[in-house]
């Protein structure tokens, strides 16, 4: 490099000493280039994250009056299925019985519904394994069965068997009145 050129700066250091001004220029230029490329890379990565309008479609309201006892309605929320289940006494009893079982993802039934509203279960209907939509009434726990790789959920939506690691997720929701919920 420059230090081999005849007449180059005689004070030019041998390796290991303080960097001189030329080194500084090299380092600064390299850092600048890396910083610029890195800084530009981020917008190109982040553009793939959810866009503003996608984020804005966050909450919906739902009228529970439409769901008969023992029925389940599936609606779409943020592109995902949402289960709104009107549980029978038998289902609730079975769910409470499950509280003491050896659970993979420990939660009591109480923690999975709003206080005093045990008959209403609101769940995100995607299997916590790889995201298929479980069907109600399959599997040996009276709850949901996932057709993809055989995960079995109980009447509280808790994982009991199969490859899924977690219980069916309970989204953020609130009762606006006795018959209306707001999800998200």
């Amino acid at each position: 490099m420059a230090d081999t050129v005849v007449g180059a700066n005689p004070e030019h250091h041998a390796g290991g000493q303080d960097p001189n001004r030329r080194d500084f220029i090299h380092i600064a230029a390299a850092v600048g280039a890396v910083g610029a490329v890195g800084g530009l890379a981020w917008p190109f990565i982040d553009q793939m994250n959810p866009a503003g309008d996608t984020l804005a479609l966050a909450s919906i309201e739902f009228d529970l009056g439409k769901v008969e006892l023992g029925q389940q309605v599936t609606i779409k929320w943020r592109g995902k299925p949402l289960f709104i289940r009107h549980r029978t006494g038998k289902e609730i009893a079975e769910a409470i019985k499950g509280d003491t079982a050896d659970l993979r993802d420990k939660q009591t039934d109480e923690q999975r519904h709003k206080p005093g509203k045990a008959e209403w279960l609101v769940l995100i209907g995607t299997c916590t394994h790889l995201g298929c939509v479980p069907t109600f009434g399959g599997g040996e726990y009276g709850g949901w069965f996932c057709p993809c790789h055989g995960s079995v959920y109980d009447t509280s939506g808790r994982i009991r068997k199969g490859p899924a690691p977690k219980n069916l997720e309970v989204p953020d929701y609130a009762f606006l009145s006795d018959t209306k919920v707001k999800v998200g």
């Binding site: 592109g79 995902k80 995607t126 057709p147």
Partner: protein, 439 residues
């Protein structure tokens, strides 16, 4: 691309061009005069077949893209319109959909060829690695292409595969959201998959260029696995292999055409002719046939993260292979023990494919209920795939490393031109191919 060139420009224009951009020289040296071992068999024709199939996919794909609409509300209908209304749209789509299957069929044969004849060993490691990269890109391309028609299988396949990344600790869920561009597989996902599905085949073409470059440095391996020693051992690529490859390509295209014209949906899933519905998963979701072995490995493991890692590991094995096999003998022709394990390996891959296509609890032998072990039914597809997956990994991680150190190979021929004495098939009657002790 390397070494000495015999090209002599004939016309004034060729001389003029040759001193400015020697492309004719490049083509001549790599496709006409290229010295090629004289003993290549038909397993060596799949490289040419693959090149043709890549071309077919690109041409048919670009035409499809002229009519296809990448939007969740229109994608399914636009594909149906291609099928019904666009002139010859049915032909072009069936060529593309079946072309993907043919492409994978050819690549699997091509890879097993490499496995058997030791084409991944020195000095061809980089060539092999580039092949593995092409295979990965093909899988990504085919997966995203399958999402485009936006049928039920497209959609739920996309959900399952993108959720695989969610198994990674901490960053997993962030990656899936990033891949989706939302909270679920939706319009942004379809759009980006279309963009990438268009791009990746051209990246494949680029890597194919490197792959061929890396081939032309050491030259072809051959069925004996013995290095080319002299000019005696080779013939020029043209006309010998242009004709042989051309014949194989023709036969392959006839089989391809048989699918396209007589049974175009044989390899596809009927459920994909139902428009995607995010609220209902089909009862039996399966990927396209070429992914079934990996799908079986995924399902063989009861834990989510471990299942995903096992599936990734199955592909990683291919990348590590050049350093796992300890044998210096390339061709399994001279490795009787390895040959046996190889045959079992091929069968294992087929078994994994069958397991992946069936429900996990389906019985392997129908109507037999005696193989119960506690909670487990050993007569089930899951258990069969567990055993097969175990062999798959053992082949790479135990058998090939150990066998190379313990086996006694048969004597290899001196050169490609003199395999008569050592090829067991050619041994004169009465004289055992290998009288010496065996391992």
């Amino acid at each position: 691309m390397s070494g000495h060139s015999n090209y002599e420009p004939k016309t004034g224009f060729e001389r003029w061009l040759d001193t400015r951009l020697p492309v004719v020289r490049l083509a001549y040296d790599s496709m006409i005069d290229f010295p090629t071992p004289k003993n290549l068999n038909y397993w060596w024709t799949f490289g040419g077949i693959l090149a043709v199939m890549l071309g077919v996919q690109i041409v048919t794909g670009i035409v499809l893209a002229m009519h296809y609409v990448p939007h969740v509300d229109h994608a399914f209908d636009s594909v149906e319109r291609i099928m019904r209304d666009v002139n010859y749209g049915w032909l072009i789509r069936y060529m593309h959909a079946n072309g993907a299957s043919m492409f994978f069929l050819a690549v699997y044969i091509h890879m097993f060829r490499g496995l058997y004849y030791g084409s991944y060993k020195a000095p061809r490691e980089v060539l092999w690695l580039l092949g593995c990269v092409i295979y990965l890109l093909m899988m990504a391309t085919a997966f995203m292409g399958y999402v485009l028609p936006w049928g039920q299988m497209s959609f739920h396949g996309a959900v399952v595969i993108t959720n695989l990344f969610g198994a990674l600790p901490v960053i997993g869920p962030k990656i899936t959201t990033w891949l989706w561009g939302g909270f679920a597989v939706d319009d942004p996902t379809l759009n980006r998959f279309f963009s990438l599905h268009y791009l990746l085949p051209f990246m494949i073409a680029g890597v194919v260029g490197l792959h061929i470059w890396a081939l032309h440095v050491p030259g072809n391996n051959n069925p004996t696995g013995v290095n080319v020693k002299s000019k005696e051992d080779t013939v020029p690529f043209h006309p010998y292999y242009t004709v042989k490859d051309g014949f194989a390509i023709s036969v392959f295209l006839i089989m391809y055409a048989a699918f396209v014209f007589f049974n175009p949906n044989a390899l596809g899933d009927a459920v994909n002719y139902v428009k995607a519905n995010p609220l209902v998963t089909p009862a039996h979701i399966v990927p396209e046939w070429y992914f079934l072995p990996f799908y079986a490995i995924l399902r063989a493991v009861p834990n989510k993260l471990m299942g995903v890692l096992a599936m990734g590991g199955a592909i990683a094995m291919l990348f590590l292979l050049p350093w796992l096999d300890t044998s210096k003998v390339r061709s399994m022709r001279y490795r009787p023990a390895a040959k046996l394990y190889f045959v079992i390996f091929v069968v294992t891959c087929l078994i994994l494919g069958i397991c992946g296509g069936n429900l996990p609890d389906a019985h392997v032998i129908p109507g037999l209920n005696t193989f119960q072990l506690g909670d487990a039914d050993l007569n089930s597809m899951v258990w069969l795939s567990r055993i097969a997956a175990l062999y798959y990994f053992a082949y790479f991680l135990v058998i090939l490393p150990v066998l190379g150190l313990t086996e006694t190979p048969l004597p290899q021929p001196e050169s490609i031109s003199s395999p008569v004495l050592s090829h067991p098939a050619n041994a004169p009657a009465g004289a055992a191919a290998s009288p010496e002790k065996r391992g």
